[in-house]
């Protein structure tokens, strides 16, 4: 039997069932932590933010003033809190700059304006599969593009859910994702080309 998120929340709140809460946390740990880790790129900070997120969740649930209405999606609510915690952290470290949604309707940013004339990267797939290079390239994405990419790949959110969470239109979310993928491909290609050049010169 696979209890739903809502039933686990009810078991925790009504019966003080901490095992239910542990199950709830562990069920979504990869999604929440993967998103936080992708945003801050620091394991210790990501662990702190993960804990901070769930402490906020507990506090909100116990005070019965949470925006979670027991009918909605648990993960969406938790991810919103996680996002707030991550953005607070990034703002405190000046690593997040709010952008005007109207000027970013098409998801354009510095990276978007770069020309995409890179060669095919068929031969470098083996290197791209090496996680470190990919993570470095993800870190170089603009914050908005990186966030959409992480929400889609780590939290398994649909683009409609991403649009709701990030308070933008679905076209903007799709546009940011498209540019994120194109920029990743270009950066991976450039990295691969430069590494091959280094190998040839050596």
């Amino acid at each position: 039997m696979h209890p739903s998120d809502e039933s686990l929340v009810a078991a925790y709140l009504e019966n003080n069932d901490e095992r239910a809460f542990r199950l709830l946390v562990e069920r979504h740990q990869e999604r929440v932590f993967g998103y936080l880790m992708g945003m801050v790129r620091d394991r210790d900070v990501a662990n702190d933010l993960f804990q901070e997120t769930y402490l906020r969740v507990i506090s909100a649930l116990q005070k019965r003033r949470a925006s979670y209405d027991h009918q909605g999606k648990w993960l969406g609510w938790v991810m919103r809190i996680a996002r707030n915690a991550a953005l607070d952290h990034l703002r405190a470290r000046k690593k997040w700059t709010d952008v005007d949604a109207s000027s970013d309707e098409e998801g354009t940013s510095y990276w978007d304006r770069l020309p995409d004339g890179s060669p095919a990267v068929d031969e470098s797939l083996h290197r791209a599969e090496q996680g470190e290079l990919l993570e470095e390239c993800i870190e170089k994405l603009s914050p908005e593009q990186r966030e959409v990419l992480l929400l889609r790949h780590e939290a398994d959110f649909t683009f409609r859910e991403i649009a709701q969470l990030t308070d933008c239109s679905i076209n903007t979310a799709l546009g940011r994702m498209r540019y994120a993928l194109l920029n990743l491909r270009r950066m991976m290609s450039e990295s691969d080309t430069s590494s091959i050049a280094r190998m040839n010169s050596a």
Partner: protein, 312 residues
């Protein structure tokens, strides 16, 4: 939706996604393949997990909270700061705009207090197309003519008025009692006069001068019972005063725009002076320096430029 965005929905198997856009060219296919490659890389990323100790701490906190011990030092969940700041900014801007609008409105009310409204109230004559200046000129001329004919100009002016201005004090008292009965007991306090001003008939403002005369009468005999209707300089409109103390206030509260007697007297005085000294001009015409007669007197200080050289 843009074809390129449709590609993404298709790529990620979104619920609303359809097939690849029909009639697609090679560009669309190439982009689909390119994005598929990147998606493949991303799908093979290693999934990250938090430290087990972190989860333990979270569960401990949850158990403690269920026993009534809420986690301390944790910021409550709230909206992102950006939204908070934006909301605060919007509220502040809205408040500032409201203050400015109210301020400008009050300022304009101060600037446009009552001349126009008072003029409307005072005017009992039929509307004419003449400009205000022309109307004043004619009114002054008519008044001056009547003044020359009548021995007591004030009386003539008062009698010449129409409407309630022409009625006697008894009738005036009766009419005012009928029209504003609740005001009949007002005893002359300024606040009461302000509130009464809004309820008074507009034509009664004509009676300020008569009211002054009535005030004199009541000083002599009927002070206790008579009412006095008069205008107020500071309050647009009119005020109803009790007779007690009205005579004392009447001079100070005469509106400036209604002191016609003084204007008429001044104009008559100017006319008399002008007729007596008709042969006098205000000043001699201006004469250029070169046109002034030269003098041979060496002590004279005025010389023509050329003449100065010759004398030397």
């Amino acid at each position: 939706m843009d074809k390129r965005l449709q590609i993404l929905e298709r790529l990620y198997g979104e619920p609303d996604s359809e097939g690849l856009p029909e009639g697609d060219d090679d560009d669309v296919r190439r982009e689909y393949q390119a994005l598929s490659q990147v998606k493949l890389w991303l799908d093979h990323r290693k999934r990250e997990r938090p430290e087990p100790a972190t989860i333990d701490r979270v569960v401990e906190a949850a158990a403690a909270a269920s026993r009534g011990k809420l986690p301390t030092g944790v910021r409550a969940d709230r909206s992102p700061l950006r939204l908070l700041r934006t909301t605060q900014l919007r509220v502040a801007v809205a408040a500032a705009v409201s203050v400015v609008i109210v301020g400008v409105g009050l300022w304009r009310m101060e600037l446009l207090p009552g001349p126009d409204r008072s003029e409307q109230l005072v005017t009992t004559a039929p509307f004419s197309e003449e400009a205000p200046a022309e109307r004043e000129e004619k009114a002054l001329a008519n008044a001056a003519r009547e003044d020359a004919d009548a021995p007591d100009q004030t009386e003539v002016l008062v009698d010449g008025r129409t409407g309630i201005a022409g009625v006697g004090s008894d009738e005036l008292r009766a009419r005012s009692d009928d029209e504003v009965p609740e005001l009949a007991e007002v005893t002359g306090e300024r606040a009461a006069r302000k509130s009464a001003a809004t309820t008074m008939p507009s034509a009664m403002i004509e009676l300020d001068h008569i009211a002054a005369n009535e005030g004199v009468e009541t000083q002599n005999g009927r002070r206790d019972s008579a009412l006095m209707i008069m205008g107020d300089k500071n309050v647009p409109g009119v005020a109803l005063l009790g007779a007690a103390g009205a005579a004392a206030e009447s001079e100070s509260s005469l509106p400036a725009w209604d002191e016609m007697d003084d204007v008429i007297r001044l104009r008559q005085r100017l006319g008399q002076l002008q007729s007596r000294q008709a042969n006098l001009a205000w000043d001699k015409p201006v004469v250029p320096l070169e046109m002034m007669p030269t003098q041979s007197d060496p002590q004279s200080r005025i010389h023509q430029a050329g003449a100065r050289e010759k004398n030397r």
